[in-house]
């Protein structure tokens, strides 16, 4: 699809869409969720019609990320209207607003590019609430004449919202439900998979099966268990939550080295236990800390404080544990064990 606006200035170019989600759409959503070619999940920016809109019909603004666009259109079943997809580089509403790509400027430019003034007789736009960190409603009004109305956080609440044009407190609040957290796990794994494989091989070569299994457990605890258990791990910040979780998954391995190798000298057992209890949990904590960017509630200043406080701790834990490991392996190689 190509925008032909320049060839027909009197006839604004409007693409058609519908509220139905096809198998192809679902496949695209799946690929987006596992992080496959993440920049490819885009629709053309521009104006779309849904149902049989008239010049009185509402205009909904969204990002041109397929998951955002499809969440909107699938919520507009039996509603006639227009969708104005901004060019957000295939990024979702909230992230693109935070990065000022979903912005006042882009919105005003897009309104003009599709000649929205000619398409609708009213002067109101419904924006997703989470676009507000990139868009200043009063400036859009000044620059385009359109009044910005912030709809609910989630598109699925739009039919209810449209009855009164008032959102309930529930509709205005972001959540981070178990489901919200679960859908993030595949992409976390995709992003780390290669590094995890390489390091696992290294640990296997250095210390055998148990060590590499302990490593995989620590990393998966951060990537998989942490997002699931986040609200229930009793600690006020992400790093220490990660340490707790990493320590917990290390326990079986600690037990295995303490009681599993009857002939081995005590100092060696303690050294191995130290690796499982310091180096590996520090990595779980690091992964947990990096999950802050995926959440819906961490602040910039809070994350900054946490980095300054806990990155040095992690570095010491990891460095100390690794030193322990190297010394143990060397001593064993040169006949001490």
């Amino acid at each position: 699809m190509i925008l032909h606006k320049d060839n027909s200035p009197s006839q604004p170019f409007i693409q058609q869409t519908s509220s139905s989600i096809t198998l192809k759409n679902r496949w695209d959503h799946f690929l987006a969720r596992i992080g496959y070619k993440r920049k490819w999940h885009r629709v053309n920016p521009g104006l779309y019609s849904i149902g049989h809109p008239s010049s009185e019909s509402p205009v909904f603004v969204t990002a041109n990320y397929t998951l955002s666009f499809d969440a909107l259109r699938s919520s507009l079943r039996n509603i006639d209207g227009y969708i104005l997809a901004l060019d957000t580089k295939g990024i979702n509403v909230w992230c693109s607003a935070g990065a000022e790509i979903f912005s006042t400027e882009e919105l005003v430019n897009r309104i003009n590019a599709v000649s929205l003034h000619e398409v609708v007789s009213h002067r109101t736009l419904i924006l997703p609430q989470l676009s507000a960190s990139g868009v200043a409603a009063h400036e859009v009004k000044k620059k385009s004449g359109f009044k910005v109305e912030y709809g609910p956080v989630r598109a699925k609440n739009l039919p209810e919202y449209l009855l009164t044009h008032q959102a309930t407190q529930e509709m205005r609040q972001v959540r981070f439900s178990l489901r919200d957290r679960l859908v993030l796990i595949p992409v976390e794994i995709t992003n780390t998979l290669l590094l995890l494989l390489i390091t696992t091989v290294i640990f296997f070569a250095a210390g055998g099966f148990l060590l590499s299994a302990g490593w995989v457990a620590a990393v998966l605890a951060g990537l998989v268990l942490f997002p699931i258990l986040l609200p229930w791990i009793p600690s006020p910040n992400f790093s220490t939550k990660g340490f707790i979780l990493g320590g917990a998954v290390a326990l079986p391995f600690v037990l295995a080295v303490l009681i599993g190798k009857p002939g081995a000298p005590v100092w060696q057992k303690i050294a191995w236990a130290a690796v499982y209890l310091t180096a590996f949990p520090s990595v779980t904590g690091f992964i947990a800390l990096n999950f802050t960017g995926s959440t819906t509630f961490t602040s910039r200043s809070g994350v900054r404080r946490e980095i300054f406080t806990y990155i040095p701790v992690m570095a010491w834990m990891f460095g100390g544990g690794m030193l322990c490991l190297v010394i143990t392996i060397l001593l064993r190689l040169f006949g001490a064990g």
Binding site: S96, A132, N237
Partner: protein, 98 residues
């Protein structure tokens, strides 16, 4: 815990400048503000995640917040590259924020 990850933040609200338009209570995703009869009221300051939506949509500059990404990955990357401000690096193919 899900409502406030951290105890303090940079949100500052000056009611003397508030025009009572109600935008802050509309845009805030954590119900930090409510709209009273004439003014906005800061009711849950600790829940603020510094997204900056209220500040951007406040026509009278009654709200100041040092907004930015609450993402450790982006902040550490910025520090390593010697950049002052962390961003999502959307133009490049960074692995987050999709």
């Amino acid at each position: 815990m899900m409502k406030s990850a951290y105890i303090s933040n940079t949100l500052r609200y000056n009611p003397d400048l508030c025009s009572g338009c109600g935008m802050c209570s509309v845009v805030c995703p954590h119900l930090v503000f409510v709209q009273n009869e004439r003014l906005a009221q800061l009711i849950r300051p600790k829940a603020c995640m510094e997204c900056g939506a209220c500040q951007r949509n406040c026509p009278t500059n009654a709200i100041i917040v040092e907004s930015g990404v609450g993402c450790a990955y982006a902040q550490m990357l910025a520090a390593l590259k010697g950049k002052k401000e962390a961003t999502c690096d959307i133009e490049k193919d960074s692995p987050c924020c999709s």
